[in-house]
Symmetry: C2
Subunit: 196 residues, 2 copies
């Protein structure tokens, strides 16, 4: 699969923004690693912020699509849906660490309206996780702890993966996802001895 120059710019910039942060990365850095002159970058993009926006939109779509695919399985138990959502999230993160961590950490450098759009998308996504947890509390044997706090704990743990995951490390993405899913599902399952 051949990458167009435009796609190359996004993936190169994604890696650089992840390494150094958006503000500390110059358009010359991006151009150099793409094999062109600094000013030539503007033959492909309108501004540095547009590169960031393109990366952020790409990541947002991948997270959204992954969660949507799980939502279709209305026949599954809450625990099984939560497991699949965790697996899908981990897969998106580990698939493109640059894109994911830019989406998670660099969106504050976007313009006001774009930043607001990102926050709204993240909010919707978080609500999908909370929904599954609340479903499990109503009918799937999940303990009735504060669903909002558990949701944040899970998502922060999953997002933290892009801070330490290495493709050549001990655990594969699948192993990490399975461990995390079991950990949090076990945490949510109310034990028989628990008071009602």
């Amino acid at each position: 699969m051949v990458e167009t120059r435009r796609q190359q710019i996004d993936s190169v910039a994604g890696a650089l923004f992840r390494e150094r942060g958006y503000a500390a990365t110059s358009v010359r850095d991006i151009a150099q690693r793409s094999g062109i002159q600094g000013a030539s970058l503007y033959a492909h993009v309108a501004s540095k912020e547009d590169v960031l926006w393109s990366i952020v939109q790409g990541a947002a779509r991948r997270f959204h699509d992954a969660a949507s695919a799980v939502s279709e399985h209305t026949d599954l138990t809450a625990a099984d849906r939560l497991r699949r959502m965790i697996q899908a999230h981990v897969a998106v993160v580990t698939d493109d660490l640059g894109q994911a961590s830019v989406f998670l950490h660099e969106w504050r450098h976007l313009s006001d309206s774009r930043r607001a759009a990102v926050l709204a998308a993240r909010d919707t996504y978080e609500r999908r996780f909370r929904q599954v947890i609340e479903d499990g509390q109503r009918s799937g044997g999940f303990a009735t702890v504060e669903a909002g706090l558990v949701t944040r704990a899970i998502l922060d743990a999953l997002n933290g993966i892009c801070g330490w995951y290495r493709p050549d490390g001990r655990s594969s993405p699948t192993q990490i996802a399975d461990h995390y899913a079991e950990l949090f599902i076990h945490a949510l399952k109310s034990t028989p001895e628990d008071p009602p």
Copy 2:
């Protein structure tokens, strides 16, 4: 308690670095919010990086001291020590959001040697958490899951708090800490039905 100008610079810079990031914050921004001229900042600090370093060192010390205080209680069970370490960590984070999130996210802008020192300190700190979990697996009824992965899940969840915590929000730092502690301790407790 009166803040010296030097202390004011650190707390002002901590808040700004948290809001905009280190690279996107100018020394003029810090000076202005401190009520002095841009160049006057250099009457108090040698460089912009020294301000970052001072904040990072302060946070590192607070995390270290908080965990050390818990380690002294060798009479407690692993679960109780883990609970206290979680409570201590959440307290440090919520006590000074700027300092904590700069420590967690902006250390990559330090010089090579300072960055290495931060990574070493974080590694030591992480090992303390893993130690308690492994203790619990040996003698405290904790399930024998991958201790490294659980440790990262817990720390990433705790560190994520400084991304959404608001002093005027629903949950107090103590409530958050207690919920998180119960969640993860419950996740670690092996159920009687579990195979050995």
